[in-house]
């Protein structure tokens, strides 16, 4: 979390310039997938491959969480047999994967995005609708960006 603190401290010298929203990709149904199309606003900030890697990894995590197979059947039948009371003491597979996703996003923010002045928000904080990427700029630079927002970009839960 040290990079977030750096980002928060840097807010004195860095300001939120814009936000980019990566939309959901529904071409394979209602399973959770995000579009890997590279947004034009990030062209000068980050390499395309890094961005695509992040989105593809997230898509793989979500596919793993929503996979319908032996384990999900077992979980479903066991839960039904106990009138779903087992979920009071057991974590579901989806929740376990969500924790992995949160850790992955934090790691990506620290290593890849924060050094480039970007911040990726966990999609679960946005209703699993979008991946929000906040773009920060140094306050010293002439930054009258079109999309500057007055709301603070850090979306701590």
């Amino acid at each position: 979390m040290s990079t977030f603190h750096n980002l928060q401290e840097l807010r004195h010298s860095a300001s939120l310039a814009n936000k980019v929203f990566i939309q959901r990709d529904y071409s394979e149904g209602t399973t959770c997938r995000f579009q890997t199309k590279f947004p034009s606003e990030l062209e000068s900030r980050i390499e395309r491959t890094l961005f695509e890697d992040t989105v593809k990894t997230l898509n793989n995590y979500y596919a793993e969480a929503e996979k319908i197979g032996g384990q999900s059947y077992l979980e479903g039948c066991l839960a039904c047999a106990t009138a779903y009371l087992i979920f009071l003491c057991m974590e579901t597979r989806y929740e376990k994967v969500l924790k992995k996703i949160a850790k992955y996003i934090q790691e990506q923010n620290e290593k890849v995005y924060a050094p480039r002045g970007l911040l990726v928000t966990d999609p679960i904080d946005r209703g699993m609708r979008v991946i929000e990427i906040s773009i920060y700029e140094d306050r010293g630079s002439s930054g009258s960006s079109s999309g500057s927002s007055s709301v603070s970009g850090s979306t701590a839960r």
Binding site: K19, V20, F21, R24, Y26, S27, E28, G29, T30, A65, E66, K67, I68, S72, Y73, E75, G76, C77, A79, C80, A83, Y84, L85, F87, T92, R93, Y94, E95, L98, I124, D125, R126, G127, M128, R129, V130, E132, G147, S149, V151, R157
Partner: protein, 457 residues
Amino acid sequence: MSLGQGPRSRRSSRGRIPHVRLGNRRHRRSGELDCIGLCTNLQHRRAETPRLHKTNKKNSWHARRRARTMSAVMVTRKVRKWEKLPGKNTFCCDGRVMMARQKGVFYLTLFLIVGTCSLFFAFECPYLAVHLSPAIPFFAVLLFLFVIAMLLRTSFSDPGVLPRALPEEATFIEMEIEAANGNVPAGQRPPPRIRNVQINNQIVKLKYCYTCKIFRPPRASHCSICDNCVDRFDHHCPWVGNCVGKRNYRYFYMFTLSLSLLTIYIFTFNIVHVVMRSVDGGFLNTLKETPGTYPFLFFFFKVLVCFFTLWSVVGLTGFHTYLISLNQTTNEDIKGSWSGKNRVQNPYSHKNFMKNCCEVLCGPTYPSVLDRRGMTQEDLTVSSASAAPSSSSSSNAAPQTTKTTAPLIPNEHTPDDARPSIAASAENSDSSKEGFPPKRSSPARVTSPRVALIKCI
């Protein structure tokens, strides 16, 4: 730093910046005051505070106060996110339970199930356990508990509500729409906001929700009763007092299925009981027996309830089994989305009965994306207006207390009611206000909020 509170408050204030805690325990659970700005003239008012107890009638005091208190106090209140959620849901147990506003029919459902089963356990089970088998009441109890568990799970859980778009996201989408529409000549209506996506070689139209400011995902729909977009929206069921959507559809189906089984079970053993007693002593005699053992009215009530429940609930279970086998929702069925006209087919169906059933009933348990119990900040600009503090604080007390007790408070009203009362309580910690327990009435305590506020700087 805090107002004289017991160990509980000290425990929860660990690691936090000094804050002012006002109100009783229930108030504290839902909000705390963090002072981040202060009137410089509060120290003057400290001397005036004892007068507040006595009277507010002196015009000169009012005039002096108005002259002095020109600046505003900015306070930040920490609240749980459910208190700030838009929509027409009611929340109980500090955000753990989520239901629709109208709950009358839900209470009726509970009454019918519990009432009928209680009569069955009271009047039939003793006879059947003795004359047939004790397994009969045992399975009846298991089935009854399962039905109640499924009902409560369906009613109390988040059906899959999609949170509304935050302002930046809404603006981003608007910009995209405007870019896509191009220049619309003045006077002409802009084209409808629709996005087309291709799913399994089928074009699906995603509609824009003007309330939630999002393009609805496929199969999502906006429930006008709850005023929320719900993912995989099936229908709004008044009998369970909630929407039925992606997250609670399986519980709803298990509820209808188990209720059908329970109804058939009770109905069957009602008949068996009557037959066995008739064999023993004649049919009419059986019905006329003394109220202590076998009241005629109760029997009639049970048979009536079971009969109507049988046809409606069993029919509903059959209908939902049909929908599950086709991987359709009630909403899609009613609208005829995949009725086969113009070669339109259901793109979500696996074309296999077992696969569809397994996906719907044994699929992953989706988490709620509404973070109901997370904390968020609410910024309040507290002006110097202290008009009618007692009435506003009493309105503060009412929603505060009922918020955690009776599930009847629409959450959207609470912050507005709380604001003026917090304003009032920040400036006049008059202990005569309802929100404060009597023990805060000692004069030493009255000045403490100001002391605490000053210490906060």
